[in-house]
């Protein structure tokens, strides 16, 4: 075991760590922004929307994330240049980078898995509470914002926390489309130093620490949630 390379590559690992955290944060943000409506329409929406949301969740949960990622990056990415005039638009620089594709793929994945969880969460809120809110004269949107959504999130928070850890553990897949997050940097080290185990073990250690920090952070957040105590 030789670790002489760590000081040399430390800045790269820090950059990689930042990219991993960005990937995770952005995918959770956009993913949840999609997951909430996806869960909601399956409980109250008109049937075409409910059906579409259901199909979306099934497809996302039924196919490997790696295939989704490659479909979006290589598949969609290879179709974009054929759109006439797209090279002159403002989004073209974005479309040439790998990072946005990774964010899109991971966000859709988060939306699919968490949409399913939010469906159960919305359904699990007692009807009486919603009826009481309506009886108080709240508009449907206010009911959602003040009662339905907070109660639903409160009930599934531990489940969501577990799911976000799974999202963290899937971020290394981004390395397969040339996004150099922690795992990708580890790959560079392996190629340049010809060491097999040490970079991998170091990467594993980083993820172990990240998971630990996230678990503790989520537990602290969970404790701050108001709980009804009988």
């Amino acid at each position: 075991m030789e670790w002489y390379w760590i000081p040399e590559y430390a800045p790269k690992f820090l950059e990689g760590l930042w990219i991993t955290l960005q990937l995770l944060g952005l995918s959770i943000f956009f993913g949840m922004a999609l997951a909430i409506p996806i869960g909601l329409v399956q409980v109250t929406g008109p049937w075409p929307l409910a059906w579409a949301a259901r199909a979306f969740c099934t497809v996302i949960r039924g196919t490997p994330l790696l295939i989704q990622l490659w479909l979006i990056y290589y598949g969609l990415g290879s179709l974009f240049p054929f759109i006439p005039g797209i090279r002159e638009t403002l989004i073209w620089p974005l479309l040439r980078e790998a990072f946005p594709y990774a964010v899109v793929a991971f966000s859709l994945s988060v939306a699919g898995y968490e949409g399913e969880i939010m469906r159960g969460a919305f359904r699990g809120v007692p009807r009486g509470e919603l009826e009481a809110a309506r009886a108080m004269g709240m508009s449907p949107f206010t009911v959602l914002r003040r009662i339905w959504l907070p109660r639903a999130l409160q009930n599934v928070f531990p489940t969501l926390a577990g799911e976000f850890i799974l999202t963290l553990k899937s971020t290394p897949l981004a390395a397969t489309i040339t996004v150099f997050e922690v795992y990708g940097v580890g790959g560079i080290v392996r190629q340049e130093t010809y060491r097999i185990y040490e970079p991998l073990l170091f990467v594993a250690l980083i993820y172990l620490c990240l998971t630990f920090v996230l678990v503790v952070a989520f537990r602290l957040m969970e404790r701050r949630l108001p709980r009804r105590t009988a």
Binding site: T58, V59, R61, G62, T63, P64, L65, L66, I67, Q68, W70, L71, Y74, G75, L76, G77, S78, L79, I165, L168, K169, S170, T171, P172, L173, A175, T176, Y183, G186, I196, Y197, L200, L201, V203, A204, Y207, L208, T211, F212
Partner: protein, 237 residues
């Protein structure tokens, strides 16, 4: 440009045959890894519930580390560590160095990872068995093995099944990660087909459809199995 049907034709120059072979390999690896994972899980759960301090701590470290590190990293680590270990053993026995074949390596790597998850599933399910049932069986004079086979397993399986069916779906999807290390299963075959024809979108859609079909059929099967295993339980509300 060829039409999608030509590209997916079963015989070369179409790539459909390759994709189906890949799917078969995926199912083989997933089934083998799942079986290995279940075996590890059963033993692990027993060890966690009944083992000594050292065994319990060892298993705790195993399940915690495996579940906290990304599968992709584990697959690489276990693959290299496994081949090295095998070759050390082979050299000690005076045999030549060897590479494990893709199929067995995939089964071993994914199985070891899944074992950690199924250990936790089984542990929870074992704990759901009412102690009275076990005591009654002991009082009837059942030996430990018979107790496991006749009482504990049948009572515990309905509790474990939702978790186990989830694990099977995760296993089938995890096999796609083996493409990154270069084992020939569905994801890798697709990558090669897409790279050779430059029809990325079409081939990844096709692979997605195959994975989806596998998942849907499996869910159906697990649904039937669950109905059967639950037949002794009171109806759920």
């Amino acid at each position: 440009m060829d039409s999608a049907l030509d590209l997916l034709a079963l015989r070369p120059p179409g790539w459909g045959g390759n994709l189906l072979m890949g799917l078969l390999r995926t199912i083989q690896i997933a089934a083998g890894a799942y079986a290995l994972g279940l075996l590890i899980g059963l033993c692990g759960a027993m060890g966690k519930l009944h083992g000594g301090v050292v065994l319990r701590w060892g298993l705790e470290i195993y399940t915690t580390v495996i579940r906290a590190v990304p599968e992709l990293v584990l697959i690489l680590l276990l693959y290299y560590a496994g081949t090295d270990l095998l070759n050390v053993v082979r050299e000690a026995l005076g045999l030549e160095r060897a590479d494990i074949s893709g199929l067995w390596a995939g089964i071993y790597v994914i199985g070891l990872v899944q074992g950690a998850y199924s250990t936790e599933v089984f542990r929870g399910a074992f704990q759901a068995v009412p102690p009275g049932q076990v005591e009654a069986a002991r009082a009837m004079g059942l030996g430990p093995l018979k107790l496991l086979r006749r009482i504990t397993l049948p009572i515990m399986l309905p509790y474990a099944l939702p978790g186990l069916s989830n694990l099977w779906l995760i296993t089938t999807k995890d096999t796609a990660l083996l493409a990154v290390v270069g084992f020939g299963e569905l994801a890798l075959e697709t990558k090669q087909a897409a790279g050779a024809t430059r029809e990325y979108f079409m081939f990844y859609m096709a692979a997605g459809a195959l994975y989806l079909a596998l998942t849907l059929v499996s869910s159906l099967g697990f649904g039937l199995l669950e109905r059967r295993l639950r037949r002794g339980q009171p109806a759920q509300t």
